[in-house]
Amino acid sequence: MTSVSRSVRADLDSGSRKLGDMVDFRLILRYAWQQVGESFGSGPYKSPITSCPFKAIVGTAWRDAAKIVFPGHQHYQNCGVQSARQIVEQASGQPLPDSELEFLNKAIDTCGVEKEKNHPKDSGGSDAGRRQCILKQYGVASKIEDASLENVDRALRDGKGVIISADVAVLWQHRPGVPPQTGRHAVVVTHGHYDQDGNLAGVWVNDTGIGQRYFLTTEQLGDALDSGSLELNITDHRIWPNN
């Protein structure tokens, strides 16, 4: 009930405003007139609403940020490390001063990222736990979640950083010019692509393994998630622009 009707009812309940069985309706309207501002405010009645179902989820700033933070082709076996670096740089809003090798060496020292005999060429292997450690070293709180489409979808809608794991035999099978390979690989999923009803139709990926940014349909993403470690790195907070 509006404040107007509460006021009117309170007055009516007092019994002082009734004329026999007939309510003095003019009095009711006067009350309504006096208090209508309180009930409706002076803003435009066509005021913007936030629940418009067609609000764009990913705007220009977000798409541009995904391009800017992409470092290109990796030089070592450090896909997960380079993925974590993108998340760190996007979260902090500025590029790190370290070279790719310096950043890798710190990750080896602090988070147990794999260091091979043929260092640094073959070094850099990481799992979700080590990537979470790297993120934490740079002040980015994150969680490891099950690799499901729902978790990726939810995280992207919230603008959170997402790293997925996949077998390259699945992840790269649709990439032209990429020879068939196998092996575990980590990439950043930067943002979603949504259909007219707002459902996730696919995602954009920053892949340092082949130095490309590309699109995966939701089905391809699902296949990729099923082929990897079955774990996601997801930041606790939004890192991408809110438009």
Partner: protein, 113 residues
């Protein structure tokens, strides 16, 4: 991402108006129910339609102004005020500010403060 088409924007605009219309409908019902226990949907709908029609023609865009127009229409309908149409025509006289038009009209209908 997806592109927002003109048809979708139109839908969003319709949602905005509908949202206010729902609030206004609740308001009208709460006022009318002080007089009759079960106001007819037909009369409520007509009051709302006429309210928005007058608001559009008179250039009223403030929420409280539009709600006041609904009150004026209820006053006309329920109280049977004579010569009410000329009074409501004041709302369309754009030489006066919106507040002034509403005040003049309310005064002539006996609703003024």
């Amino acid at each position: 991402m997806f592109t927002i088409t003109p048809a979708q924007l139109e839908h969003c605009e319709a949602v905005r108006v509908a949202s206010f219309r729902q609030r206004l409908e609740s308001f009208v019902v709460s006022v009318l129910s002080q007089r009759e226990s079960n106001p007819s949907c037909t009369s409520i709908s007509r009051i709302l339609d006429e309210t928005f029609s007058i608001a559009d023609r008179g250039g009223f865009s403030q929420a409280d102004h539009v709600a006041r127009i609904a009150i004026l229409i209820m006053a006309r309908d329920v109280l049977g005020v004579e010569r009410v149409e000329p009074e409501l025509e004041i709302l369309m006289q754009k030489k006066l500010a919106h507040d002034e038009r509403l005040a003049v009209c309310a005064g002539r209908l006996g609703l003024g403060e």
